[in-house]
Amino acid sequence: MHVSPLSWIALACAVVAAVIMLLYLVYRPPLDTKTKGFLALGLGVLPIMTALIGNVEGLRATESQAFCGSCHTMDLHIADANDPDSMGLAAIHSRTKMFGDRSCYVCHKDYGMYGYALTKLGGMGHVYYFLTDYAWEDVHDSVPRIHIARPFRNDNCMQCHSTSGRLWNEVADHQGLLEDLRAGQTSCASAGCHGYAHPFSKAAEEEGI
C-alpha cells in the first residue's frame, strides 16, 4: 500500500475535522461565534479539503492496473498483462515503462476531447455490469463472456505508433493497408496482424461459443 503525501494532507484535514466534531458532540458548547467558527472549519473547510484531495487521488487511482484488477473478473487479464512470458499485445506493452502499472488505462482510455469523462462513464458501465452480472460468477466462467464494449480503436495505437515513421512504413503490410489502418477499417490488434491484446481470452471465448 502506497500512500502519497497528498493523501497524508487529506488525512490530517480529516483527523482535525473529526476532532472538532467529536469535541462538539461531547461538550456541546454554546453556539457563539467562536463555536460556529470552529464548526465551519470542522464541517466545511476541512472536509471539503479532504474531499477535493480525495477526488484527485481517487481519480488517479482509477488509472492504475491495481484498480482495474480490484474486480476479480479482471484477474486473468491482469495476470496475462503482467506475465513476463506472454507475447500478447497487452503483456508486451505492460513491460514498457510508459504503460507499466497504468497499462489498462493507457490502452483503453478514450483519447478524444472529452476522453477523460467518457472513459470514466465507460467505467461506470463496467461497475453496472459487474454488480448486475459478473460479481457472483467465477472468473473462469466470465472470461468467455467478457468482451470489449466497442472494437478497439487504432487511434489508441496511433498515439505512439504514428504510422508516418520510415521503419513503420518499410513493412509491406503497413504500406498496403495504410489508409485502412488510419481509418480504423483494419484493426492492428487482430488475428492476421499483431494478434489480440489478450490472446487467452479469445481462446476462452471461442471455446465458450
Binding site: L31, A40, L43, A51, G54, G58, T62, A66, F67
Partner: protein, 89 residues
C-alpha cells in the same frame, strides 16, 4: 416547498441540526479517508459518491443553522439615524 423550508427554519432546533451534521460528517470523513488507504473500486466509489453526498448533507445542515441564526439577528443600518433632539419635537 418554500412553506416547508420556512417552517423548518422557524422551528428546527439548532443543537439537533448540529448533532446530525457532526454525525453525518464523521461518517463521510470515514468513507473518504478509507479511500485514501485502500484504492480498490469499492472504497474509491464509496468515497466519491456516498461519502461526498453525506458530507455535503452535513455541510448543508450547518449552513441551515447559520441561516436560522441570521434570520434571528437584528441588523442595524450601516449609518444609524441621528438621535432625535428637542428641536425635532
Amino acid at each position: 416547498m418554500n412553506r416547508r423550508l420556512e417552517n423548518l427554519l422557524n422551528t428546527a432546533s439548532r443543537a439537533r441540526l448540529l448533532v446530525a451534521a457532526c454525525v453525518l460528517g464523521l461518517i463521510a470523513l470515514t468513507l473518504m479517508s478509507w479511500s485514501l488507504f485502500d484504492q480498490g473500486w469499492i472504497p474509491v466509489m464509496m468515497a466519491m459518491s456516498i461519502g461526498q453526498g453525506i458530507g455535503t448533507l452535513s455541510f448543508v445542515l450547518f449552513l441551515l443553522v447559520v441561516v436560522i441564526d441570521l434570520r434571528k439577528a437584528t441588523f442595524r443600518p450601516s449609518m444609524p439615524h441621528d438621535a432625535p433632539t428637542n428641536k425635532d419635537k
